[in-house]
Symmetry: C2
């Protein structure tokens, strides 16, 4: 279906929110949740995931929250996608797990390598787009 997941959308919105309210203070999941009307639990999960990928830094406890680890013009779309989307390849056989040999169609259908080229081009777009551009 060629669609970014809702989670990725929310991740972008969350990162944007943190970037915009960057007075040095932490931004809480609750703030983002109510600011954008997204389920609190969902936003939390996404922020935790972004933390794991070192895109945001978390602070626990009272007065805790999240800050960006880098400036918005140093964070690219591809990093967020890779952190959130379990699989961002345009076909299954391009993933880490799906090897060439998994293809059951006519000894690997041969549309794979041209599509790989398309994949690379799409990734290059994601690499070029920074968070700055979505603020």
């Amino acid at each position: 279906m060629l669609k970014l997941s809702k989670k990725t959308e929310y991740a972008l919105m969350a990162v944007k929110y943190i970037a915009m309210n960057n007075g040095g203070n932490c931004i809480t999941a609750k703030e983002i949740s109510s600011g954008y009307k997204i389920s609190f639990e969902l936003v939390s999960k996404i922020l935790q995931q972004l933390t794991k990928f070192n895109l945001v830094q978390s602070f626990q406890g009272v007065k805790g929250g999240y800050t960006l680890t880098r400036s918005p013009n140093e964070i690219t779309l591809i990093e967020i996608i890779k952190a959130i989307e379990p699989n961002y390849y345009i076909t299954d056989c391009m993933g880490d797990t799906g090897s060439v040999n998994d293809c059951e169609h006519f000894d690997c259908c041969m549309i794979r390598s041209p599509l790989m080229k398309v994949q690379k081009q799409i990734e290059s777009i994601f690499k070029q787009t920074t968070i700055n551009e979505i603020i």
Copy 2:
């Protein structure tokens, strides 16, 4: 998930098959089905869809089958995607149905228009890729 559907993959394979075996004769769904080991019914459906979008021409009855309506270097990836994928936009709010007003997040979250730009870039890749390149 940012993935092309299996149907689109099969559509590409089918179009490729017809393009390669272009001795002027029709290619039947059965041929493609057994050649690529794809379910016959599925291939049929896909070819019917491609027919509706005038990418292939169908001939009914005995000796029937399919031919391309244009030469492979005149058919682009975007045309096949548009014919098969019900929704090829990277977010929901970009579709024909999903208007700006449908967005429930903070008066249209504002990541929409920068993502629209990304969408256009991706489409431009699909427009540039012809069937010739996948043969």
